[in-house]
Amino acid sequence: MDVSPALPGRRAAERRIGRSRASVDFDTVSESSDASTGRISRAEVAHLARLARLAVSEDELDLFAGQLDVILGAVARVGEVAADDIPPTSHAVPMTNVFRADEVRPPLPREAVLAAAPDVEDNKFRVPRILTDEA
């Protein structure tokens, strides 16, 4: 699959939105959005894609802006329910933290794990460069 056309769009979105990653902050892009109706702009999709590490193409920005707008509008219906005094449920069945004995167990063999890696060097995962000139 040819993904190279995606980069300019993503980079353009980054320029518009800035590179802050300390926290997820929608204030910079949400002027046109309204949580109660789920309105979402093309720039907002670009920002979401950047946060989610998706190098979406220009065509996808158009497609997803329309679709996410409809979906967010539909799911915003949860706001119709009066639930101020209702506690949230994260798991349906009550859960408590589970402890187990602190015992040494054999891990997966190193070669079995590295065999699945996209790139390996010196018995380790090899990754692309992390630091950039921009930093």
Partner: protein, 495 residues
Amino acid sequence: MSDLTRLSASEIAGLVASGAASAVEVAQAHLDRIEAVDSALHAFLHVDTEGALDAARAVDKQRANGDALGQLAGVPLAMKDVVVTKDLPTTAGSKILEGWRPPYDATITRRIKQAGIVMLGKTNMDEFAMGSSTENSAFGPTHNPWDLNRIPGGSSGGSSAAVAGYQAPLAIGTDTGGSIRQPAAVTGIVGHKPTYGGVSRYGLIAFSSSLDQAGPFARTVFDAALLHEVIGGHDECDSTSIGAPTPPIVAAAREGARGDLSGVRVGVVRELGGEGYQPGVLASFQAAVETLRGLGAEVIEVSCPHFEYALPAYYLIAPSECSSNLARFDAVRYGLRVGDDGANSLEDVMSLTREAGFGPEVKRRVMIGTYALSSGYYDAYYGQAQKVRTLIARDFATAFEKTDVLVAPTTPFVAFDIGERAADPMAMYVNDLCTLPASLAGTPAISVPCGLSEGLPVGLQVMAPALADDRCYRVAAAFEAATEPVLAAIPELSG
């Protein structure tokens, strides 16, 4: 000998145990069936011919040695490709995992192997289990054996098609919002979503961790109970696994098959029916309720007013959890890596890889989840959805004060045409209307065939309180015993 692929799992196990058929013969008959029809169905992403025959030979050897055999020893099974299998390709229907061979077995894989069940291969699915039609697979759709132009349900559509298409008598599916029950309904087979925590999630590629639950597909309720018993029970590798033993589901299926539901209170959920449901589906459902009444059940109408918010709550909670879970696909430790040309940064490579490796539905959900979890939106979306989840659980609790089980159609409509809803995400999401409440409440629910509409299968959903999976099996088995087998009407696939 009659065609081995037409037998139930328990019949096959009986033949293997008695020596009337070898496990190798059984496995070969199913592998031949797959060879003959899978070009039409595309139920499988990977067929493990050698592994299946090796497992079958091991069962035959155990029997020859006089060793005790498991209740399903020698019975073939199709495994959904979201369950990791050591050294066997596991993709979850995604290009990002194409070619990956996991270094370990999921707990349910290990239990299936230990039971002497013969794994035939890995079945097709919506990418990362996100979908209701199996059209979201990166490797092409699966076709419904009832009508090859139609969807087999999803996300476990490869597993449902394999069982309905006589490629395997048993299959494993996973159900996050209905992905076992809905495919079972639209292919005319049985599928059960266990109580959340009843079956280990260790080794299931995670979609929505507070909802994901693996469970059985089979052509009979009793077979489904036998498979559930093999995979169920506590697992220390899953911290959300329930400590209590699996409820007596096999006994409940036997009890139900006697056809007496005297004293059982069946609640019909008012909110799951009416406008938007196909008339044929509603007619089949009404007839099913009358059948239950005829078996001695007391039928009560109940109201669950918050069920109408299950769909919006689910389509916030599941995407939120998936946006977090799918962060692990970072092009570092396993799977695809794209754009690593020495110039691109790690972040660029991650973004290019995820762009190339994920399909559109996965991207949509990851972005919806990212949005719903963001500061400023969290309370209005994710937080509110979790409160709705509480209200849905309370609706169930209130309904179960005066009923033993609740019933509803499993799906609002029968299998639709491939492509019919693919372009409209919301049109796809309404497939899950009837299955979502039990997902959000973590309660068990089974789908059992209850007739035909427009010549296509309709499912009856039986829901029970948490940890009372046995009630689902009892009522479903009684219903099954009182009705003609739906699958008998399936057209013959040309081989």
